[in-house]
Symmetry: D2
Subunit: 150 residues, 4 copies
Amino acid sequence: MTEPDISTDLNDYGFSTEIRVRLSETDAVGIVFFGSFASYFDVGRMDYLAHLNLDRFDGQIRDLIPGAVVHQQVRFKAPSHYNDILVMHVRISNIGKTSYTFNFLVNNKRDRRLVATGTMTMVWLNDTFDPVRVPDEFRAVVSTFEAFDD
Amino acid sequence: MTEPDISTDLNDYGFSTEIRVRLSETDAVGIVFFGSFASYFDVGRMDYLAHLNLDRFDGQIRDLIPGAVVHQQVRFKAPSHYNDILVMHVRISNIGKTSYTFNFLVNNKRDRRLVATGTMTMVWLNDTFDPVRVPDEFRAVVSTFEAFDD
Amino acid sequence: MTEPDISTDLNDYGFSTEIRVRLSETDAVGIVFFGSFASYFDVGRMDYLAHLNLDRFDGQIRDLIPGAVVHQQVRFKAPSHYNDILVMHVRISNIGKTSYTFNFLVNNKRDRRLVATGTMTMVWLNDTFDPVRVPDEFRAVVSTFEAFDD
Amino acid sequence: MTEPDISTDLNDYGFSTEIRVRLSETDAVGIVFFGSFASYFDVGRMDYLAHLNLDRFDGQIRDLIPGAVVHQQVRFKAPSHYNDILVMHVRISNIGKTSYTFNFLVNNKRDRRLVATGTMTMVWLNDTFDPVRVPDEFRAVVSTFEAFDD
């Protein structure tokens, strides 16, 4: 089984955002449906970009698609429940030529318990849906925030 | 980036089921929201178990939880759209002591194009949510269907 | 409380389609989340139009929006559960100048119990999102199928 | 067509909460999927109850179901989009013997435009799922907050 290399050290995460679990996101087992985490991660992505003033790379959905998700994974550590507040720690762990990868670390706010870890990899696309180089401005802002070595 | 070891040879899949894309499963980018595949995979799991008459291991949601999802991943190969019919090929690729893993291969029915691959790993739990050995009956039925070597 | 005028006489419905309840559509109360019925109704709409070969009025999502939902309602009669098969009876109950209304009657396939009734009203829009007259061809096909008096 | 009697006077609403539109809640038409409003209303219900310290009537999902949704409706006034912030005004408009009804008024935060109105009626249930009288404490707290005439 493949294992993502995700840091569980909170010091590696410079940004976090909170999600409160909605009833629609739970299932008949009584816990959060595992698929709900994809939406949570997407909220983490959106909030992270807004935090770095990079959300103009997010807004023109119709005219320009800055990134398509090419891979996504979640590892579940503990169940969470209706009305729980989840603290989602977000970072971009690396930027390649045409793609970049988010890491997510999700804790339960009440007891600090680790709920899930995950990754989401996006590829930058032009108008004709061909992969293109991640723009320098995006690259520069993220690299500074994440303190990447160049 | 971690890479799942998923066979893309259709001969390795003894079961398939179809999903027609609903409007609610698409997003403003104009394609199927990437998180919708978690629900699709869960339908694949449900249908596969029913096909093998193993759905009694699926029905008593509250009294017995036969499995909790501990890992899930999707690799996206091509976008799909509203009203597309997706053919989801499903197999269990291995059964461990307390866990088992589904593989999914999703094609677009119209042009046979590969849309996504993915895995979902579940762990068997008892009433107190401790991992327990996958029952022999489940193990036997799946091993025969999948022609596992013992 | 407003009460929809929905026929519960199955003879008034010339079309039906089936939905099997997915785990993602249930909630922590153990039943189908009430909001899932909006997606079910939309499937009913899609299947009804396809049945009448009117789905070309449904497909060009980007280029032409044949209808926007302007009102939707559901009355819940009995809970339904994971893996239940719901039989959704669909009809168009009337076509106005620029709008038309679907009626839905949802039964549980196993015990025939009435699960929910509902309505969905759509308005026809042109490229600039102004309401326009429902096209004559759509009107004619539906009126014949539903045996409207003219 | 039935028409809900919902006040569009903001002075009638003593509570509001905000929702930011997620990508998963939009659809391929490019707007918020109409069915997403059911989840939004449920968030409004949850937040309203918490605001009045009535959320203990909300938490014990399995042991006590304080209410099942028996009717829900939405009237759509204007489309909303990914990343929009929706201001949802919530009130309970009346409490009957065994049921009570929420009203929702949803505006777009940016331009104040009316996006949707809606209602949700819940019935109080005991352990055997029979309707029972809405508890006096719930009734008293809401009546005071909403300034009902007795």
